[in-house]
């Protein structure tokens, strides 16, 4: 072999692979975008149909409009001495106007398509019962008002759980069977209790037995004027709910990641890398983390969209102004526009996440990117 070293060793073809991959990737991206658009379309349309009970809600609305109009006319002193027939005619006119305004006279099928268009343009309309804290009836405003509080609380807790558990799990998978590993496994069932359950105990201990932290809310009342003092107050209010969520999720999360890494560190190619005498850091990075990046990224992004829905009970326990309780109330009021608005935004976020995931899969895993080329 040495004697051949001088002979023309062709420039390895590794570079040529790059172009082929890029072309594949573009094609794949367009294909996925189209598929996702159709998915969102179908999902949002189904929500519209379901939230309107296939048009049945219209009947309820008519009844409601009629009773409101009757009430308004009856309560108005200007119409007090009007004859009953004229008054009824007035009510009918009012109802007809309102029905026309809401286009209830058109078939539901036609309107549902319009609703779909509006929803896709994020024109979410006005709420029927609910309003934002600032008094707006705009569904978009109602939802967006709650978004920062939800993202702040659940984002902090979930990012913390995710990164802590992945790193601790990697560490434990290196020390399989150690005392630490066994104690984490033993603690995994603690996650059977939900976050709010731990929340109640934390509030009891840290807000009442030893009153160190506020029991609920998002910021002190009245809110501090100074920006830093405001931030500090929010952080103090976040400590307990974040701790509650962290406690309830961390052990099961570590446990499942640890098992995941253990399974993947006994792959033949990992064993081969060990035989090759590669340093263990490199093996961990290139042979364990790199091939498993797709599922790791998936779970990370799904965790991120999970933030959107908030958590109803935990928000109640800590009196946190989040989205979970908002949507819960909207369902209670049968406030169709708010429900649809929530779902539309969720559908968009989900589609965006899945799209990002699809692209990431293709970048991370050649088997996805080059699929179909050889078959």
């Amino acid at each position: 072999m040495r004697s051949r070293q001088g002979a023309a060793a062709p420039e390895p073809a590794a570079h040529r692979g790059g172009w082929r991959d890029l072309r594949r990737l573009l094609f794949y991206t367009v294909k996925r975008l189209l598929a996702l658009f159709v998915t969102v379309l179908v999902g949002v349309y189904l929500t519209i149909v379901i939230a309107n009970m296939g048009g049945q809600v219209d009947e309820l609305r008519r009844v409601q409009i009629r009773s409101e109009a009757a009430e308004a006319v009856r309560a108005d002193p200007a119409f007090q001495d009007m004859p009953a027939e004229e008054r009824n005619a007035l009510i009918e006119r009012q109802v007809a106007l309102e029905v026309e305004r809401l286009r209830l006279d058109e078939p539901f099928l036609v309107r549902s398509v319009d609703y779909l268009q509006q929803a896709l343009r994020l024109d979410l309309g006005r709420a029927e019962q609910m309003h934002s804290d600032r008094g707006s009836r705009d569904v978009y405003a109602i939802i967006v008002e709650r978004l920062p509080a939800t993202l702040l609380l659940f984002g902090t807790a979930n990012l913390l759980v995710f990164f802590v558990s992945v790193f601790v799990a990697l560490f434990l998978s290196r020390r399989y069977g150690s005392a630490l590993d066994r104690s984490v496994v033993a603690l995994a069932p603690t996650s059977a209790a939900p976050g709010w359950f731990y929340g109640i105990f934390l509030i009891l201990v840290f807000a009442f037995v030893a009153p160190l932290l506020p029991a609920g809310g998002m910021v002190a009342v009245p809110p501090p004027e100074d920006g830093w003092a405001y931030a500090a107050s929010v952080v103090r209010h976040m400590l307990l709910p974040v701790a509650a969520m962290f406690l309830s999720q961390i052990f099961i999360s570590i446990y499942s990641w640890r098992t995941f890494f253990l399974i993947h560190s006994s792959e033949d190619y990992v064993e081969m890398a060990r035989a090759k005498g590669l340093p263990s850091r490199l093996i961990e990075r290139r042979y364990i983390l790199r091939p498993t990046l797709s599922p790791i990224v998936t779970s990370f992004l799904l965790m991120l969209i999970g933030l959107w829905s908030g958590a109803i009970i935990l928000e109640q326990v800590f009196n946190w102004p989040g989205l979970g309780s908002l949507l819960f109330r909207a369902i209670g009021y049968r406030d169709t526009p708010v429900i649809i608005g929530g779902v539309v935004i969720f559908a968009y976020l989900l589609a965006a996440t899945v799209f990002v995931l699809d692209i990431l899969y293709a970048l991370l895993d050649p088997r996805v990117r080059l699929e179909g080329e050889r078959r």
Binding site: M1, A14, Y176, D268, E271, K276, L282, P291, L364
Partner: protein, 328 residues
């Protein structure tokens, strides 16, 4: 004169810890291997062949109970080296392993060329271009088109993957390559062409091989020497010629009789019984239970009797022909 011995293994032991107690997977194996020589380690499934390869490469699983013995490579006792030095100086650069099930031995998300060139880049610090050029050379040597360097493992056929792994083993020009069942998952034609590639490598590079297999036919292709393993021990070590024509140990004889041959009337004879459990190996000769020549002395553990230059058998039948000696 330069010593012809490349590898000397003395009383190598590897025991695993299991619920049933310690499993004696490798139990006192001794042999030596010359330069440019191929040793075939033959044995039934579960006799400790793969464990032998792992013990030599120091690829010990988590449940190791105990290891012992000496492995010297080029006269240097590598068992005495600390792990880190062994990894950097011996593993892969001097002694490489093609593992069983090498179908999945390639990282699915890294280009084949990068993986083949990796040991050079990581262990020797070669720049990427130089390492890839060298990978292209070994690809040619084992009969894979260099186009495949830029491919991913899933784009390669089984035989191609096996060759790529072989190329990976050869890339750092190790003095010794251990092949653990390299062809058992492949069809006969692919097997034959890989065996031919191995012969070419042996001829051109002068690499020594330890070929672990249960397939007597494969072993006769490449082997200069044959070691027959039974229940964690080498029961006979001999030149291939001698082993296939005049095996000394009863197990060797019965094994040869069990191989079906073309153009032969005699029916292949199966060996009755089963190998003993390695968790509780019997005292005395481990083959005694299945041996038709069993006699009183078989209750004691036979040493490896020297039957000629580099020919040893662990059987009391040969106690009179020879005297017990060290490694063969």
């Amino acid at each position: 004169m330069r010593d012809r011995t490349l590898l000397r293994v003395e009383a190598l032991e590897l025991h695993y810890q299991t619920r049933q107690g310690a499993v004696h997977a490798v139990d006192g194996v001794s042999f030596d291997l010359h330069r440019q020589e191929a040793l075939v380690v033959l044995g039934e499934s579960g006799c400790g062949k793969s464990s032998l390869a792992k013990a030599l490469m120091r690829l010990l699983p988590r449940n190791v109970h105990h290891t012992a013995g000496r492995v010297s490579l080029d006269g240097v006792d590598v068992t005495a080296l600390p792990d880190e030095r062994f990894r950097r100086e011996v593993q892969w650069s001097r002694m490489a392993l093609v593992m069983q099930a090498s179908m999945n031995a390639l990282n699915p998300v890294v280009r084949v060329g990068e993986q083949v060139a990796e040991p050079l880049r990581v262990l020797r610090g070669w720049p990427r271009g130089k390492a890839l050029a060298r990978a292209a050379e070994v690809f040619e040597l084992v009969g894979v088109a260099t186009d495949f360097l830029a491919r991913y493992p899933f784009e390669l056929s089984g035989g191609m993957r096996q060759r790529a792994v072989l190329a990976m083993a050869l890339v750092a020009e190790p003095a010794l390559v251990i092949l653990d069942e390299p062809t058992s998952a492949l069809d006969v034609l692919t097997q034959a062409s890989i065996m031919n590639a191995l012969k070419r490598v042996k001829r051109e590079l002068g690499t020594s091989f330890i070929l672990i297999t249960h397939d007597v036919a494969t072993s006769s292709e490449l082997g200069d020497r044959v070691a027959l393993m039974y229940a964690g021990q080498f029961v006979e070590v001999a030149d291939a010629e001698r082993f296939f024509t005049a095996p000394a140990h009863p197990y060797s004889q019965m094994l040869m009789a069990s191989v079906p041959r073309l153009r032969q009337r005699a029916r292949p004879e199966a060996i009755p019984g089963e190998p003993p459990s390695l968790a509780a190996p019997p005292g005395g000769c481990r083959y005694a239970e299945r041996c038709p020549y069993r006699f009183a002395r078989c209750a004691q553990d036979p040493p490896a009797f020297r039957l000629g230059e580099r020919h040893r058998a662990r059987c009391w039948l040969h106690a009179d022909d020879a005297q017990a000696g060290g490694s063969a």
